[in-house]
């Protein structure tokens, strides 16, 4: 079927239009989000920094390969268009073995480069791995409830809901589990990548913030009706402010006794921040024990 293309735009014009459109779209998006927290490009912790630079490296390699390939593809399509009768036409494809080999070797080489970067990075940035630092790490136990975050500070003896404060430049060990809640995921994008929290298991995520400020935290894993409202704020403060905050919370009147925990276990949505001056030492272990006959052989992934 011969096609008359008299009134159609030339491919060059179409390409130009598409490019202009994409640039406009990019500018529009940039305008719409200016001044907002683009969390992944705005790392505030050592892990997030490393994850960001890894992301930049991988995407640079990929773009460096993909953009020329796509360009070549479109250029080839244009060069050998039907109306360009000057271009050579060879109806039979006969290619040398070398050509076929390079077809396979080229992508293999690129993937080898990426894999050789990825393997050590995955080990270096494993969430379970402690962060090297001269500062003594603090441990925070996290229990996901429907639909709120409960943070226990075993060393400080305080507990919080939907709010976690940590000192800057101090390694933090988050130990996560869940109680009567489907799988959730613990994510503070400015500080570093996420990990699932689930009943009967303990997952450990090591993070260290390097800039003070308030950062949003959420669960990207769906866990029921209150999922979207299950958010918390991670406040990174100086060590001094942190100690002072611990003291203030330690003096507050409410404490996390069995009755209060029972209330927290009931499903509720869009919960406010709550601070507790004390909690039962065995609470965390009991939550895990509840789903396991014994502690042995369960929940340790290290």
């Amino acid at each position: 079927m011969a096609v008359n293309r008299k009134n159609r735009l030339k491919p060059g014009w179409i390409g130009l239009l598409v490019l202009t459109g994409l640039v406009d779209l990019g500018l529009l998006i940039a305008y719409l989000i200016q001044g907002k927290n683009i969390a992944l490009f705005n790392p505030k912790g050592v892990i997030a920094h490393e994850q960001f630079s890894l992301m930049m490296f991988v995407s640079a390699v990929l773009f460096a390969v993909a953009i020329p390939v796509i360009f070549i593809l479109f250029f080839t399509a244009w060069k050998y268009r039907e109306s360009n009768t000057k271009a050579k036409h060879v109806p039979d494809s006969r290619h040398s073995k070398l050509f076929v080999l390079s077809l396979w070797l080229f992508p293999t080489a690129i993937m080898l480069v990426l894999a050789s970067v990825m393997w050590p990075a995955t080990h270096r940035l494993a969430p379970q791995k402690s962060i090297d630092s001269s500062v003594k790490p603090i441990t925070i136990q996290v229990i996901t409830l429907r639909w709120k975050w409960l943070f226990l500070y075993p060393e400080q003896g305080i507990a919080t809901v939907n709010f976690v404060q940590i000192p800057v430049n101090t390694p933090v060990k988050f130990e996560m589990t869940a109680d009567e809640t489907p799988m959730s995921s613990f994510w503070i994008p400015n500080l570093g990548g996420q990990l699932y929290a689930m009943t009967s298991h303990v997952n450990r995520l090591n993070l260290m913030a390097d800039t003070t400020g308030d950062y949003p935290g959420s669960t990207p894993e769906i866990n029921g009706a209150g999922f979207a409202g299950m958010k918390f704020t991670a406040r990174v403060s100086s060590d001094k402010d942190f100690k002072q905050w611990v003291q203030t919370v330690g003096q507050s009147e409410s404490n996390l006794d069995t009755a209060t925990y029972g209330e927290l276990l009931l499903p509720s949505q869009n919960n406010k921040v709550a601070l507790y001056s004390a909690f039962d030492d065995s609470l965390y272990d009991n939550v895990i024990m509840k789903y396991n006959g014994s502690m042995e052989g369960h929940g340790h992934h290290e």
């Binding site: 989000i33 490393e50 773009f63 494809s93 969430p127 009567e180 799988m183 990548g193 689930m198 769906i222």
Partner: protein, 698 residues
């Protein structure tokens, strides 16, 4: 007593919310209109005999396409509802949907788009094209194929049944992650509908896949060795092999979830020794290969389209074949990349990350192969080629983001964020859907005997591209901003709202694209005569065997089974002098209603499983067994068309075949009906009915 009779069903199960009332109303209205039209035009018998009980894969293929098209509209409406909610519900505004309702919608959207749109189109293509490409007159097991199709229709019915009974679909995400999908956290019937709709359509897929593997392996024309098969057939073979490998896994997993929910077992529960992580593993062991089940036939389509429209054989046929085999082999060993964040150690994560990257190698080989095929070709830019170029652009974005997600430390920052959602939409829309559109415009002349309207096709294409960029590029950006998927509400301080609004506008542009595609099909039927294929079934100067048949092909496909000498079988045949026509007796399978009957009882059984109606379960299962046994004893499943009858049919067809006239020689797409002309035609048609009171005649 009541419980014995109707199980858990109560009056409250009937629709009483605006969405379920709307859904039920639409279903009933469509049913009424269809029955009125069929009764008035006296087409019931025709429908039953020619279509519903047909075992002709060409007709089943078209029915798959119709079902998939309807479901595309249904799933697309879900998408618009999701985008509208997210564009509205920032800060104080909670939008127009409750959290539960919103979650049901995106769950249904995912299930419908993957199972009942993408799978439907892919199976439709395979049904129609594969037998023609391998030179077969029918299938290895035509009954298994119809049964597979009708079970798939049963799945569609079950996925929409909640509108009428129960008013609740699963609110768990499209894979119903445990333990959220357990009785403890999802007590309603929504998850049961999810289980049983996927159960029966999944069994249908397994049956269909078995049939096509047998057909491709055993029924090729003489001379067609495996390495002379067209690439679409190769893609289909790889895809069906994978489907047979993983779909039983889905069925088994669904049974376990059902046992947990109905019988109180503890496979995936939080208590009693159950392990939800097991569920995550099992469902993704099926779920990841599933996306390759969809994409491989599409890769095959693109390979053939590029070769045909470049007027050149594929650059490296063996590389393309091994590329597809490689993709399907590696696809079975990457499932863990869907949950790097579940807490596995670095060795496990890194291994699955590397495996995922390995899969990018055969995929890149295919892309390079297409470039090399175009090199020194003579490329015609008809709509199929446009869809191919659109695919390359969109799929490249999806591929890049995919390799990024394959790196575990990066994945920790992007898992379940909107970046991920944008990634798989890029691959599934760009790869599968554009592949299907490409295939549709390529093979439409084969289906109908006339080509699709080019002009409206181009409009639709550009709407899809523009809409896609507007809705999914902001989605990538939202992922960078830390927006997770499936949010029915977010704080205004996040600054996400403008991007969600942009996405909604993009969605509307895509909807316009879909409307234009419908208009395109309508306009093509109206202009049928002008678009008629006068080349005797080979409008694109095709290379594979399906183009050697007339359009549409006779129900026996080939008068004489051709002998194959090359992977571009028809291309070689065209260079030779046609042998003199000879006629032979043809064996064909008889139409049968067994597929429909079994599917009706399977759907009833599923419905009964959802509502615990024990007697109905027992009756339906017995009925299925009885039908099988009766069919098993029947020896009357084939018939012979004698040679002289074939001759008569062929001569009648040739006498009626359209002949090229002068008017058709300057057949150009500029003559194709534009939108304005189409609207005028429809307007005149409607006015004619109203003015001349034509409805009185009905």
């Amino acid at each position: 007593m009541k419980e014995l009779l109707v199980g858990k069903l109560t009056w409250d199960s009937l629709p009483h919310e605006w969405t379920t009332i709307g859904g039920t109303f639409t279903i009933i209205l469509t049913g009424i209109i269809l029955s009125v039209v069929l009764t008035r035009t006296k087409r019931w018998k025709w429908l039953w005999k020619e279509w519903l009980t047909s075992v002709d894969p060409k007709k089943i293929g078209i029915m798959y396409f119709i079902a998939g098209g309807v479901m595309l509209l249904r799933g697309g409406l879900d998408a618009l509802m999701i985008w509208l909610q997210q564009a509205l519900s920032s800060g104080d505004s909670q939008g127009y949907l409750s959290a539960q309702h919103f979650q049901e919608i995106f769950t249904a959207h995912g299930n419908i788009m993957v199972f009942f749109v993408a799978m439907a189109f892919i199976f439709g293509l395979i049904n129609y094209i594969v037998p023609l490409q391998i030179g077969a007159r029918d299938l290895a097991s035509p009954l298994m194929n119809t049964l597979g199709f009708w079970l798939f229709i049963g799945g569609i019915i079950m996925v929409n049944m909640f509108f009428v009974f129960g008013g609740e679909y699963a609110a768990t995400g499209w894979l119903a992650v445990a333990p959220l999908s357990g009785k403890e956290f999802s007590p309603g019937v929504g998850v049961d509908y999810w289980i049983w709709s996927l159960m029966i359509s999944g069994v249908g897929t397994t049956l269909g896949a078995i049939n096509f593997i047998m057909t491709i392996l055993k029924m090729r024309a003489p001379g067609m060795t495996l390495f002379k098969m067209p690439l679409f057939t190769w893609g289909s073979l790889c895809s069906m092999m994978m489907a047979v490998t993983v779909f039983p896994l889905l069925t088994a997993t669904l049974f376990l979830v059902y046992f947990d929910r109905a019988l109180g077992t503890h496979f995936f529960t939080t208590i009693g020794g159950g392990d939800p992580m097991m569920y995550t593993n099992l469902i993704w062991m099926w779920g990841h290969p599933e996306v390759y089940v969809l994409i491989l036939p599409a890769f095959g389509v693109f390979s053939e389209v590029v070769s045909t429209f470049s007027r050149k054989s594929i650059a490296s046929y063996k590389s393309a074949v091994f590329g597809m085999i490689g993709v399907s082999a590696f696809a079975l060993s990457v499932w863990l990349h869907h949950f790097f964040t579940m807490g596995a150690g670095a060795d496990v994560n890194a291994f699955f990350g590397v495996m995922t990257m390995v899969i990018a190698i055969p995929t890149s080989v295919l892309v390079f192969n297409w470039i090399a095929t175009m090199y020194k070709g003579r490329i015609r830019f008809e709509t199929p080629m446009l869809w191919f170029l659109g695919f390359v652009a969109v799929f490249a974005i999806g591929g890049i983001s995919g390799v990024m997600l394959a790196v575990p430390p990066i994945n920790f920052q992007m898992h379940n964020s909107l970046f991920l959602v944008a990634h798989f939409h890029s691959t599934v829309i760009g790869g599968v859907l554009f592949g299907v559109f490409c295939a549709l415009s390529y093979w439409f002349p084969k289906f109908t005997g006339f080509r699709l309207n080019e002009r409206l096709g181009r409009y639709a294409f550009w709407c899809w591209i523009v809409g896609f960029c507007m809705s999914f590029i902001p989605m990538y950006v939202l992922g960078f901003m830390g927006a997770s998927r499936r949010l029915n509400h977010y704080d205004s301080s996040t600054g996400w709202q403008p991007l969600f609004i942009l996405m909604l506008i993009g969605g509307i542009v895509i909807a316009v694209g879909v409307a234009l595609q419908l208009a395109q099909i309508l306009a093509s039927f109206i202009q049928k005569k002008r678009l008629l294929d006068t080349t005797g079934g080979d409008p694109w100067d095709g290379r594979s065997l399906e183009w050697s048949t007339p359009s549409p092909p006779p129900f026996y496909n080939f008068v004489t089974i051709p002998k194959i000498t090359s992977s571009d079988a028809y291309w070689e045949m065209k260079k030779q002098i046609l042998p003199k026509r000879s006629y032979e007796d043809i064996h064909m399978p008889k139409s049968t209603g067994v597929g429909i009957y079994i599917s009706i009882f399977a759907t009833l059984a599923s419905f009964a499983f959802v509502w615990d109606i024990i007697w109905l379960i027992v009756v339906s299962l017995i009925a299925i067994i009885v039908i099988f046994v009766i069919r098993g004893f029947s020896e009357d499943s084939e018939y012979i068309i004698p040679a002289h009858e074939v001759q008569r049919l062929e001569e009648a067809r040739i006498a009626k075949a359209p002949i090229a006239t002068n008017a058709h020689e300057n057949n150009s797409s500029e003559e194709d009906m534009g939108l304005r002309e189409l609207i005028m035609v429809v307007y005149r048609f409607v006015m004619d009915i109203i003015k001349n009171k034509r409805w009185k005649k009905w």
